[in-house]
Amino acid sequence: MRTWRAMALSLLAICLVVEARAQGPISNLPRKETLIVENPEGTIKNAGWFNIWAINAGGQSTGLHQLGMDTFWYIDPQKGLDGVWDNSLAAEKPIYNADFTEMTVKLRKGIFWSDGVEFTADDVVYTIETHMKANGLRWSAPVQVNVAQVLSPDPQTVVFKLKKPNSRFHALFTVRWNAMWMMPKHVFEKAGDPLKFAFDPPVTLGPYTLNSYDPNGKWFIWQKRPDWQRTSVARFGEPGPKYVAYIDPGPPDKRVIAQLNHELDIIHDTSPEGMFTIAKQSQSSHGWFKGFPYAHPDPTLPAVVFNDELDVFKNRDVRWALALLIDIKAVSMASYRGAATISAIGVPPTGAGPENYHSPLESWLQSFELDTGKQKIRPYDPTIGKQIADMLRPSLKDQIPSDPATIAKSFGRGWWKPNPQAATELLERAGFSKKGDKWFLPDGKPFAIKLTVEGEGRPVMTRAGSMIAQQWRQFGIDATTTVAQGSMFDRRAAGDFEAMITWSVETWGGHPDLSFFLDSWHSQFVAAPGKPQPPRNWQRWSNPELDKLIEQIRQTAFDDPKGLELGREYVKLVVREMPTIPLMSYNVFTVMDDTYWTGYPNAETAPYTDPVPNWANTKYMMVRLKPR
């Protein structure tokens, strides 16, 4: 007995000692001056590598591209601090000649690298010429494809002579998550091979510089530059946090625990269940929306992407029939537990999307008729977003908005009403037949679809895929899901799938121009079956009408209102043709804790930027954050 008592006392003593020694996540940094952020890249294998121009060599969203890098322009996925377009290193917008074969950039004065050297046009010319000479850098290929010559007539002017007309060449230097960053000439010209230079410590143009990092890649700490006034973001004020730590907090459950312990100020993303737990247990944490659905809708549009090169999906009637068999309410519940923002059209329902596309096209969608051969139906149901909100209200009560505009913003507007009768008629017109309770192809073989999903790496989308496959199965189609795990990118590029839950639509978010993804949908880039498909037309869909629209957009200036009209024509075309079935925006459960910092962006009162912290655009968040 005495032994047991001694053992119990020893254990208690050890616990007390450990408790006394227990420390916060930071050893010697003042917590009140430090913002702690999740880096979704996780543990960085090659932590001491800061040469962001080398592909896949080190981390990017370790704070490196958010706080250390800079380039000409940023487009905000939301409203922006001073409008969606920001001239960052550039003093003004890009200046093109009449036929878009030349782009001139005027640079800001008084911008300095963190080692005190002034940033000038020489750095830009060096960056471009290095990419022209070296193969294998991150932006070598787009530079080599586009740039014939780069000149700097004076230290604040750069002129790009292009190999062929390109009205969107500036997109290469316009941040939407990232863009081509500027290299410090005075550092790299002494470094030898730019592919083999680690750039440790990095010399930065952004308002922070590297303080320290874990050689095993678990954390990176950035410190505000004493000369932050000599950086482009200083126009908006002083960045709040003195230190910013980007860490790998581990799986979603641990991120939730870390935030509940106030050891993680910003969770990049967690599961819907994790978000609901935090909402219930923490008074100080919140998402993009004050209440349900909390998550930030990224300008990305998950969809059922068909491999349109396969015979079975070449017929528009088949694609539409499959769309009419989906009950989006059930998909929303299965995937995001209702916290989804749905979209019937091929534009994400976020940022400038609703204002420029969803809202103006609402009446067109409501009057859109689909001819099944036996009847004309109006498939669009404008009340689906409201129906989802109504479905959730009994359990979530006040958290669910009742104002129609807020519901539309949070849950989306309408979607296609399930219509198995119309789907039957469309399939029959396409030559399919039903025997017993099973559907068969025109050649008599069973109608089977393998729907590829990513698996545990993207559980929300995997659950959406499982629900859709189940709905198709209930109709008599032999639909199953295939889990691709790490081979998702390879299969998608190689066209090694029948249908897939993924996205081929990503937009700027804050700007209505659709060329960011749409240019790559031109049939000139569609690969032959079996050959790798370049991003982003994963559906491998070719359409002459679409080609004409894309060619017109190419000849239209970025801010020309005609571009928006052409964008709306694209939306109508893809509604009629249904090359993919758009589902919802990619909602990211970014959760922010007010315990140490306030001023985070939010949908209701401060939509000044996207809070998702791996976006380079979040550098603007730093100037709004204030210590509590």
């Binding site: 930071i26 581990g250 641990k254 509940l260 390879d490 240019d519 880039f525």
Partner: protein, 334 residues
Amino acid sequence: MKTYPTYILTRLGQFVLVVFIGINIAFIVTHSTPIDPVEQSIAAATQYGSTSPEAIALMRQSLKELYGLQGGLADQYFAFWRRILLGDFGPSLSAFPTPVSVLVGRALPWTAGLLLSSTLLTWVLGNLLGGLAGYYRQSRALRFAGILAMAFHPIPYYVVAFVLLIVFGYLWPILPLSGGYGMNMTRALSWGFIGSVALHSILPVLSLALVGLGGWFMGMRSLVSNIVTEDYVAYAELGGVKRSRILASYVMRNALVPQVTGLAMSLGAIFNGAIITEQVFGYPGVGTLLVSAVYAGDYSLVLGITTVSIVAVSLAVLLIDLCYPLIDPRVRAR
């Protein structure tokens, strides 16, 4: 009867053969994966940003050249063996151009430290308690310890790990949730750093020990239970030899032989990493490195880690085989 040198030569031959076959299997498996490192790199480079399809074609070509993936499978196979024989695994394809040996070298000490301490702790405690429980069968305390060890043993590891995390990371947050040491600490032979490493290793070591203890405990208890019925033990007891001496010198010593073999195998397996432990506790190590290499299709890194692991396990078995005849004359006599 073979001589000891012949025995050594035979075992060495077996070692070389096992390593050769193991590495070849690893090569075939890694090169059969549908994941292409070039496509992974392209996806990483283009996932969020603006991309021009023409530029992607050019990028694909450049990366193939850069990664040295242009030759056929046979070329890659011979190049791989040339590098292995020179002790070089080449550059990692998912952290290009950093050599695989640098990445493995950075992660290995953490895994080795974690698994060495948890394996030794578990082995010593499990065998000691199991030996005592087998010998002093009437002790209530030891029977209770046995029930505890057996209760933890069948629980899935990740359940134990998560329960520990929730208890000591959230309900009573006295231990760190993640990492190998405190953020922003300088790595040095200082008490502060050593203390931080120790603190961060408590939960991972405890989780491994709780689940692993039962196996050693039960093995040792059943071995001891058999040995105590042997004539020589009964004779020693009748001869008035002290019970503690009988336990230590007659019973445990004999029972330890198979347990030492098990220990050697476990120590060899240290180089495999503890994937779930490292993932759950965010511990830096080879397991995390291996998982990320598999997802990235980084053959070089996967092969580097598996080769180290194959050699380590085979070497551990070889060493124990070589030591056996010295410990146990019956093996020498075969």
